[in-house]
Structures are given as C-alpha cells and as structure tokens.
Symmetry: C2
Subunit: 200 residues, 2 copies
C-alpha cells in the first residue's frame, strides 16, 4: 500500500517551508563541487611534492684530509633520514586517499542533498589525514631546518651549503606538503560548514 505514498508525503513534509528546515530555499546546500576541487588540488600538490622529494638525490665530491689524495663521493638521498621517509609515506597515503575520496565526492556531487552521515564520515577521515600530514611536515621541516642551519650545541653541522640541489628539492617538497595540509584542514572546515548549514 502506502509505502510510496508515505515516502512522497514525507518528502513533501520535509521539503515544505514550514517543516524541519528553517530556511525556505529547499534542500540543504551541496558543496561537493568545491570538495572535489579541493581534493583535486590535494592530489596534485601531494603527487608533485612526492616526486620532488623522491628525485632529490645529489652526489657530491667531498674533500678529505690528507690532500691531494683524499676525495670521496657522497650522496644525499631522502631515504637517509627517517623524517623524509615519513614524509614520503604520508604523501603517498594522502595521494591515494585523495583519489579515493575524489571518486566518492564525484558520485555524491549530483545528489540534491548528501546525507549528514557522509559529511560526518568525511570529517573524521579528513582530520586524521590532516593530523598525519601536519606531523610529517613538522618532522621533515625540523630536519630540513637542521640541514640548513645546523646546531652548534650538538655539533650537528649543516649540509645545505654542500648539497644545494637536495636542499632545494626538500624545501619545495615541504612547502607543497604544507599546502596539502592546509587543504586537508579546509576540507574539514567545508564539511563542517555543510553540516552547520544543514542544522540551521
């Protein structure tokens, strides 16, 4: 009998101006177009950052005493430091995550009003991803800064004066990763705003 009838009535009641929504302009807004664009930006920045970091290898001839015989070739590679390995892993996870959620975002985009459950779920995953990325940027940033400035108290010498190309790659990668972290924070804010608009 009346299942469809009832659903229809329910829909009518729900979309009627005097019902649940205090705003009169129909269903709650769907911000999944902006969501999709932000996730695309996240993917692009994470992938570029990953490539820049992985291709940062640099070989330099280091003079060693006694001269003129002492000279060795030493590399600088991202995987010599656990901090940069952590950033590479975080960027890889963020890239895969952005692809997965982009597909999801694309599927939800056309719906008139995606369920609040979806938005809540996205907030949880986005904030976890944002926290991981922020900590990875912090870790790599700390080691990168040490490479640039050194630390006289612990006798940790800087290496950026020798490995210029490596440091430029690392710096570019960290800036792009920071950008990716900011996008993840914005994604949480966007989903929260969408929920906020629905609860008005």
């Amino acid at each position: 009998m009346a299942v469809t009838e009832m659903t229809d009535t329910l829909d009518t009641v729900k979309t009627a101006p005097e019902s649940g929504y205090t705003t009169s302009d129909g269903p709650p807004p769907n911000y999944f177009r902006i969501d999709f664009l932000l996730r695309l930006l996240l993917l692009v920045s994470a992938v570029i950052s990953l490539v820049v970091l992985v291709t940062s290898k640099e070989s330099e001839v280091i003079a060693v005493l006694p001269q003129p015989f002492g000279a060795i070739i030493r590399d600088a590679k991202f995987n010599y430091s656990p901090a940069f390995i952590y950033l590479v892993v975080a960027l890889g996870v963020a890239s895969l995550y952005s692809i997965k959620t982009m597909i999801f975002s694309c599927a939800v985009m056309s719906r008139p009003a995606p369920s609040a459950k979806i938005l809540f779920g996205l907030i949880i995953f986005d904030i976890l991803m944002a926290a991981i990325m922020a900590s990875a940027v912090g870790t790599a940033g700390g080691i990168g800064y040490l490479g640039l400035k050194g630390n006289s108290h612990t006798n940790w010498v800087k290496f950026c004066d020798i490995y210029g190309k490596f440091c430029r790659h690392v710096a570019a990668s960290i800036i792009l990763s920071l950008f990716a972290s900011i996008i993840l924070v914005l994604l949480v804010v966007l989903s929260a705003y969408s929920l906020y608009k629905r609860s008005n």
Copy 2:
C-alpha cells in the same frame, strides 16, 4: 517495520511544535559536558608536558682530548633547539586556548541546545590548534629521534647516551603532547558529531 518507522516520523513531523527540529526527542543533544572534560584533559596534559620540557636541563662533564686536562661541563637545554622551542610555544598556546574554551564550554553546558554557530566556530579553532600541535609534535619528535639514534650519513651524533635525563624529559613531553593532539582531534570529532546529530 519501515512503514511504522516512517509513519512515526511523519507523525512526529506533523505534530511537532514549530521549533525547527524534525526529530521527536526534543532539542538536539548537548555534549558540552564531554567537551569540557576533554578540554580539562587537554589543559592537564599540555601543562604537564610544558613543565616536563622546560625542566629538562641537564649538565654533564664531557671529556675532551688531550686527557687528563680536557674536561668541560656542557648543558643540554630545550632552548638549544628551535624544534623544542616550537613545542614549548605550541604547548603554551594550547594551554591558554584550553583555559579560554573551558570557560566558554562551561558557560554553554547548561543551555538546552547550544547554537550550531558555536559548534562550527569551535571546530575551526580546534582544528587549527590540532594542526599546530601535530606539527610541533612531529618537529620535536624528529629531533628527539635524531638525539636518540643519530644519523651516520650526516655525521649527526646521538646525545641521548650522554644526556639521559634530558632525553627522558623530552620523550615524556613528546608523548604527552601527542596525547594533547589526539584530544584536539577528538574535540573536532565531538563538535562535528554534535552538528551531525542536529542535522538529522
């Protein structure tokens, strides 16, 4: 089952007073009691972490060649490393932030249904604080790990075998800061859940 459920919802919507809520069980839930407790935990962990980090100073007699004349006293202090200074600043900001929002949370606790705007505002500030704390934990963790393990590729020697007390303090502080970051993430999830419950 579905039909009765639907009828119930329909009845509720039909008979609900013109309050704007579509659910039958009165005003949306108020989770500010949990919010307050989480902020109290945040304050406690941030303050303890701050005190542990600031009191980490250790002086050690270091033998220097040529022996037996060479012996100097060298300190290990948190402010010798920009990473630990960053963590101290982040913890200080988090402590002040938790006090401010605790007062706010306390004021809102008694209201039957705090406005969605308040929850959205809290999400924005909480996620910014969470990102700052996560990056600070990452930075300090990276430097702490370097102190523990060293890095043979860059000739950065570990110092935790000499400055044991300093390293224990730093490790305890980092673990507590990580705990504080997790609480901040939980606070965002709680506010988002509250918004989600309201939008149902």
